[in-house]
Amino acid sequence: MSRISKTIAAAKQAGRKVLVPYLVAGDPDRDTTVALMHQLVSNGADIIELGVPFSDPSSDGPVIQLGAERALRQGVGMKTVLSIVSEFRKKDDKTPIVLMGYLNPLEVMGYDNFVSQASSAGVDGVLVVDLPVSEAKELLALTQPAQMDIIFLVAPTTTEKRLQGICEHSSGYLYYVSLKGVTGAAITDADSIAERVKALRERTELPVVVGFGIKDEASATSMAAISDGVIVGSALVQKIGELTDSGARDEAAVAQACELIGRLRKALDA
């Protein structure tokens, strides 16, 4: 069982919803990202999605685009991203890490290099936004033996036929995209999401975690109520962006940026 599956199974057993923050690796800089990750865990994060910055993030809204631009200005590439993971692993070998990003950095690095280096750095899963199942055969052939999970997205537009392939090839969890749009948009129709997620859970054993548009206690608890947990991206990246604006990188600033996750943890556990 992968570290991701174990973590989610344990949470389920404890009657707890998983809380998955997303942050961009290297935003605002390498060392602060490591500090932020530890702080997120102590605030109650179960899994961390670490964004690999990409120059052309065509599925992301303005907040995460800016986060990626800040990281790219520091020259952050896959090497730095993996060094952040190794550094984090020195003090935490429990919290699963999922790398989330776009395909071209993997293409240029070579899938085999990527999988072996990411594995040895301590990465547990990978979510490639622009890699649908139909194009993922080569990557799956490498991640499966390395016991790395590939997480695929399920969208409101996903057809029944596609869903079959996605369920068949996913491991770890399914990432349900709450809305039609890009990251950072607002959820408008909670009822239809509930219906879709219910149908999804009836047809797969895989845990379902909901992301996009979760920004506060209300959206987190309503989405967690119908699923196994929630992903929080733009709302956190917005806070982390304020570190760059203020220039502060000390413990207090890091704690301030992660405060939202602590609040959401409380709300989910209440």
């Binding site: 690095m109 649908p132 596609r162």
Partner: protein, 414 residues
Amino acid sequence: MSVSESEHVATTATAQDPFSGPDLTGHFGRFGGIFVGETLMAAVEELDRVYRQLSGDPQFWRDFDYDMAHYVGRPSPLYHAERLSEHAGGAKIILKREDLNHTGAHKINNTIGQALLAKYMGKPRIIAETGAGQHGVASATVAARLGLECHVYMGAEDVKRQAANVYRMKLLGANVVSVTSGSRTLKDAMNEALRDWATNVDNTYYIIGTVAGPHPYPMLVRDFQAIIGREAREQSLAEYGKLPDALVACVGGGSNAIGLFHPFLRDKDVAIYGVEAGGDGVETGRHAAPLSAGKPGVLHGNRTYIMSDDNGQILETHSVSAGLDYPGVGPEHAWLKDAGRANYVSVTDTEALDAFRLLTRKEGIIPALESAHAIAYAIKLAATMSPDQTVLVNLSGRGDKDIHTVASIDGITV
């Protein structure tokens, strides 16, 4: 690259006809495919289904041909550029006059075709990305004609250097969105259009302006643009009694080029040259020539040659011509390059500007700066050939939109 080349080539290139691509999953050899976020997958698959159905329907092509004749003004003529040929001193240079089309470039061939698809699919809202503004104008034009809402994404840099086209789009009723993210050029406009599409996927048809994007776009845009090559082939036979010895076209995303090349791919004796934007010179790194100096990767929905750094970040491109300023290229070109069927070369900004002036003075034709790249290479190529040979150049657009750019290079404000 972890994709084994032989594996995919086997699916596309049958021994009988290697040029029948893409395969059913949208691959040209190891290139092409569908690489988009899950939210767009259903829309892309639906478009593939609709296009396969409609493109098998003769009525669809009758409608297309009618619009080509009566609205676009096709067929566009072949023109023997005698004084230019004389200047080059070698083969006859023959121009395929796409500049004479309605709206002034080849882009309208594609937007007419895709507008028919949008209409059939019942989508009331059109979006498009544009670099030089020619595709934006062509999209706004078909949207006006069909009474559809139209939003055109354009990099903030391009909004500045193509002000006349921005105004044309506005006159046509389109909303022009100036894109300030990333490098503020065509690639960023395409990112923003993809974001819009994911958000408004139910009621929106995305008219991609070149043979890039996820399958089926590279296939369907090629099919619409192939009218250029079909006409040119017939016209050559009728007027010169033979096929041209060489074809030359500029390559941005590659639509005017593939449109000309495709009907000739099986004519082994016709040499094919795609001309990329060399900018300050390919050796300087400041260019837009992914086939000449890029490497395989994935951008905007397909696998192709792209310009990216060692971290896989897409590089900024440089070209005097906004329509060629793109770090990727259509996947069929990537395949033709590797298959050795087409040659890809580049010319610099300076060479293109010289050709722009030369064609204007020798023939009284002001070419688009994009097309001037093809002219520049054709002159060099013709010089190495004999007078009984012909070089057919796709004059993909007229240069009115570029007057300000050229004037400002000359230090003149118009």
